[in-house]
């Protein structure tokens, strides 16, 4: 089957709040091929989490998808009925959340939950369920998986719980996993372990991965492609190598320069002035205009996402040369 596995076009998810309409996601285009890892990068308020939820139809009122299309393997997901979505979730598209307790039921043992998740989409005897669960726990790097099956979530550490959540996501060999900041709340060494496992799993099982994060370091080591979000829109996409080495959008460049890792110790970091505008009061035109050193009168018009090189940029003054 040719064509991208997931194709998002013009997706818009708005929230109706007392203070007005909040355009959390306002027209994004994404495309993921089978077996690729996409890093969806953005800071708080960029809309990256809402994007992940929208793909799976998990947006609750007062939010709703108000436009656009999400095609998964040729099937349109926007407007799909609950039963259709349920058949896809967990089986062909799975999600891993930042807090593993959003996936795990605190009153069921690990084995019980995994069996439940397995039987949601296929028939399996208890023995089969147990065997598959045990295999998956081993696959995600949990030591002594047989014993862990009878453990309860509160008996496991944060890192272990997240691994169990990932194992559950893998139960039905999904084509796509959407991971929303799954390692942000974990210690750095555990984070390293999970990243290692996820990448290995992605390579071995060929599952496509959307990794939502604000951590550029993680994305730079994990992703094949990167999409950068700002104020509800995608401002830059492209192969990771290109986006990181030669960022085209001033925001991407500013973000990369803000990371203290490589700067001269004690020096002033290049900083993006100001802060993200409130989504309720976005300035007309380019949302980044008020913080951008390259802004001009032309930026009063919202720029289109234009193909450039191997990717796309939403900017009137897309940066060309490397610093």
């Amino acid at each position: 089957m040719s064509g991208p596995l997931l194709e998002v076009r013009g997706l818009r998810t708005h929230f109706a709040t007392r203070a007005g309409v909040l355009p959390a996601v306002d027209g994004i285009d994404l495309s993921i091929d089978r077996g690729r890892i996409l890093g969806l990068v953005g800071e708080s308020g960029s809309g990256k989490t809402v994007t992940g939820f929208s793909i799976l139809g998990l947006v609750d009122p007062p939010g709703r998808i108000v436009g656009g299309s999400v095609r998964f393997d040729g099937q349109e997901l926007v407007g799909l009925d609950q039963e259709g979505l349920r058949r896809l979730r967990g089986r062909r598209i799975a999600m891993v959340f930042q807090d593993p307790m959003m996936t795990l039921n605190p009153v069921l043992s690990v084995g019980e939950q995994m069996a439940l998740a397995l039987r949601a989409h296929q028939d399996a005897s208890r023995a089969e369920a147990r065997a598959r669960s045990r295999d998956l726990l081993g696959l995600v790097g949990i030591p002594s998986p047989e014993e862990r099956l009878s453990a309860y979530p509160h008996q496991l550490s944060g890192g272990m719980r997240q691994r169990v959540a990932i194992a559950i996501a893998l139960l039905h060999r999904p084509d796509l996993i959407i991971a929303d900041e799954p390692t942000t709340a974990l210690d750095v060494s555990i984070q390293g372990q999970i990243l290692h496992e996820m990448r290995r799993l992605a390579r071995e099982t060929g599952v496509a991965l959307v990794w939502i994060t604000h951590d550029l370091a993680v994305v730079s080591n994990l992703a094949d492609d990167i999409a950068v979000m700002y104020a509800g829109r995608i401002v830059e996409t492209g192969p990771a190598r290109d986006v990181l080495a030669r960022p085209r959008h001033p925001y991407t460049r500013g973000l990369l320069d803000s990371v203290p890792g490589e700067a001269q110790p004690g020096s002033m970091l290049a900083q993006i002035p100001g802060s993200t505008p409130s989504l309720l009061r976005l300035p007309p035109g380019c949302s980044f205009r008020e913080r951008c050193a390259h802004a001009s009168a032309a930026c009063g018009e919202m720029p289109e996402l234009r193909a450039l090189g191997g990717g796309a940029v939403r900017c009137h003054h897309a940066l060309e040369a490397t610093p």
Partner: protein
């Protein structure tokens, strides 16, 4: 070499959960020990020279936050001494109280560290007024001055914390600490809750203030990139103990303790040239619970070069002054 500003000697901090009546009865009947003891900080000795920034680095359970609070005068050490400019931080007696205002703290969560029901002006002025650093008449100007120093519009003084963004609130928290005119600033993960772009702003503010005010800092963080950027020296902690200390540049270039080496390897670093085949070299195993740390060297179950003696004896910090590692296998110097 001047006298250190902060001197912690053999500091330990133990937290006990006293058993309730039911547990005590069970223990008396032979169900095992009642109550739990956590050695959050286990015999730590550190010093910070004036105008120096020492970073405390470690993962959860390492005790860096607790040690920071001992240095800030929030907790009294269970044993050992904590001296600020030669004088004890805490008063003595059954209920020790902080005996000085010369050390102040900036907390991690900007949303929780400001009283939601107080205006910024009151938050900033409360401490100085209580300790006579400013008169009531001068307070508004004093507050305006500090707000300006941290890059905030002085008119914000009449606002409430919830009207600010995370980065702005953290600036208010820094202003609150500085308004007490401390000699030592303890910062507990001050930028961990902030977005990357805001983090850069606050780090720049921090670098600027440190330079302008000649501050001495104890900077607690788990983010090695941030630590490398702001600190002169680093102390790495693991499960309540310091495992390595030294100048930042040296530690990053040539770590001596296996945990430091493993930590530096396992942390994903931003690679501008990008590569999806970036090498993650994770540390094996989980961090043990602080309630039951492994005997001898706490790190030995996860250590790639552990030997039998690592399980038996706790390694002492060895090496030259200012550059030490607590490992049986790390050679001297």
């Amino acid at each position: 070499m001047s006298a250190p500003l902060l001197e912690l000697s053999g500091v330990s901090k133990r937290f006990e959960r006293r058993p309730n009546l039911g547990e005590r009865i069970a223990a008396a009947l032979g169900a095992g020990p009642a109550g739990e003891v956590v050695h959050a900080v286990d015999d730590v000795s550190l010093s910070i020279a004036p105008r120096e920034t020492l970073a405390l680095v470690g993962e959860s359970g390492c005790g860096k936050s607790t040690l920071g609070r001992v240095a800030a005068g929030i907790h009294a050490p269970t044993s050992g001494t904590a001296l600020l400019a030669g004088a004890p931080l805490m008063s003595g007696g059954a209920r020790p109280r902080k005996a000085t205002t010369r050390v102040q703290m900036v907390f991690q969560d900007p949303f929780a560290s400001l009283n939601p029901r107080m205006r910024v002006a009151d938050i900033l002025a409360e401490g100085p007024l209580a300790h006579g650093l400013v008169t009531r008449a001068d307070a508004p100007a004093y507050v305006a001055g500090w707000l300006g120093r941290v890059g905030l519009d002085p008119s914000f003084a009449s606002r409430y914390p919830h009207q600010f963004s995370g980065g702005q609130r953290q600036r208010v928290a820094i202003a609150r600490a500085l308004a007490m005119q401390p000699d030592l600033l303890v910062c507990d993960e001050p930028v961990a809750s902030l977005d990357v772009s805001i983090q850069a702003q606050v780090l720049n503010l921090f670098v600027e203030l440190r330079r302008d005010l000649g501050l001495t800092c104890l900077f607690i963080s788990h983010d090695l990139g941030v630590v490398r950027h702001v600190s002169d020296r680093v102390a790495i902690m693991y499960l309540g103990r310091v495992v390595e200390t030294g100048p930042t540049a040296e530690i990053f270039a040539a770590p001596r303790h296996p945990y430091t080496k493993a930590l530096l390897d396992s942390v994903p670093r931003l690679r501008r040239e990008g590569a999806a085949d970036g090498d993650f070299r994770p540390i094996a195993g989980e961090i043990p619970s602080p309630l039951a740390p492994p005997p001898g060297c706490h790190f030995h179950p996860r250590c790639p070069v552990a030997e039998p003696r690592c399980r038996e004896a706790r390694p002492e910090l060895r090496g030259v002054a200012g550059r030490q590692a607590a490992c049986h296998l790390a050679g001297p110097g």
